[in-house]
Assembly symmetry: C2
Homo-oligomer: 234 residues x 2
DNA sequence: CCGCGCTTGTGAGCACGTGAACAAGCGGAA
DNA sequence: TTCCGCTTGTTCACGTGCTCACAAGCGCGG
């Protein structure tokens, strides 16, 4: 039960499903914490906030890891899902831009905990370069290629002002990074072989504002419950 | 040209479209900054990262604000879109939980700039209550109902640990808040008349990890370009 | 006034995601 | 061994969103 011997021909997992896998995984961790040996799709749906049919369909993309009449083995499913998500190893992260947000992200311990240790910090401002944050010395963005190689960086987080974001992204890509999480409020253009996701606080607030406005104006107040993850996304 | 006289019966705007409106608005601001009087759907598509057909269809939900053969009047469209998004007035925000992330959000100036001034801070920790952050004194979460009334709070931001998030959400809703942005890595349950959006950094990283893993493993490296805000999720 | 080029607004077809319903299949009890 | 309840895995129908394609319509030049 340790490893799947013949990893069956990789099915193509829909993007919408992929975006839910981390939620399932978190729910499984919760279930494991409660000491449950197995979990039904219905219970997993409750924990993750989706419906049971969707859960079963999503899990079926990973393989047939359930037992009819019983449910899913929590530990085994957790393992399979971690493997599929690539969480069996740590992915090193670099944060670019150490203003307010970048600073907070650098100090935020949650990344390492979840397998994404912050291995480097870069900035373009000479006044910031050289300062130490949470045990890491900020280096100049020009050093990115060397840093990525030395620290085996896989993921870049952009927390620069919008005006600098595209250039930083280009540099990251030049340096070999293929996964980027963008916090800058601007549209980035990247080659098709680079994964790009974005988190835009202002956009989220404006979407809330839209529904709030409608609610105030007339009687139609339906809005998305648990959206934005995306997809997307969201 | 100042205001729409007979606001035509509010069309139902698809959720996917709503999530793109803020991006269009930002692109319009950019165009306005360049001094362009009008903008074509094609140019707007470039700026916002979508395709022209989608832009036109999205804009058509707001009304027929374009001129065939010419394009859209930048200023006018900007105004209409702001109105639709409810950005003609400020929405006061309360931040709950002043740990690392909450602290950063409280110090982040971008909110007020974009019409979402942070009007109050609350926490449950007696050691935090009473401290001052960015000119605001942190109050106890028990005071929420009074705070919401006094400060006319419309939006709640949850930046607490996951374990406290649901209770804080319940309290916000009791206090009259109907729009919540959740940063805590947990699923919140809210009544159908409450809008809930979530930002989960760990989830975003794990999604990136999935595609990175696939890319390392085999030759299929296609991932979503500009996903997640989204729609759903995405 | 007339015709031409350009851009919007929309209708139709298609792809994707969702939810309900059900057959398949496992485990335990008798 | 056989039966029965339970849960998965999958099929099917539906709704939503996306893209293409094109008619409608505006402004300009002649």
């Amino acid at each position: 039960m340790a490893d799947s011997p013949k990893r069956q021909a990789r099915r193509k997992i829909p993007e919408a499903t992929v975006s839910r896998l981390p939620i399932y995984l978190r729910s499984l961790l919760e279930a494991a914490g409660d000491g449950l040996p197995t979990i039904s799709s219905e219970r997993l749906a409750e924990l993750s906030g989706f419906n049971a049919a969707k859960v079963r369909k999503d899990l079926s993309y990973l393989g047939s890891y359930g037992t009819r009449g019983v449910g899913y083995d929590v530990e085994y499913l957790q393992f399979q899902m971690s493997r599929e998500l690539g969480l069996t190893k740590d992915w090193h992260v670099v944060i670019a831009g150490l203003g307010n947000l970048g600073h907070a992200l650098a100090n935020y311990g949650g990344f390492s905990e979840r397998g994404f240790p912050v291995a480097a910090l870069v900035d373009a401002d000479p006044k910031v370069v050289g300062t130490e944050i949470n045990g890491l010395v900020v280096r100049h963005v020009d050093e990115l290629p060397a840093i990525v190689a030395e620290e085996d960086i896989a993921i870049g987080i952009i927390a620069t002002p919008a005006s600098a974001a595209q250039e930083v992204a280009d540099r990251m890509i030049d340096a070999g990074i293929r996964s980027i999480l963008n916090f800058a409020p601007t549209i980035l253009t990247v080659p098709p072989d680079v994964s790009l996701r974005k988190v835009d606080l202002a956009v989220e607030l404006q979407i809330l504002s839209f529904y709030q406005q409608r609610r105030s104006g007339d009687g139609d107040g339906s809005a998305s419950s648990e959206a934005a993850g995306s997809p997307r996304g969201g």
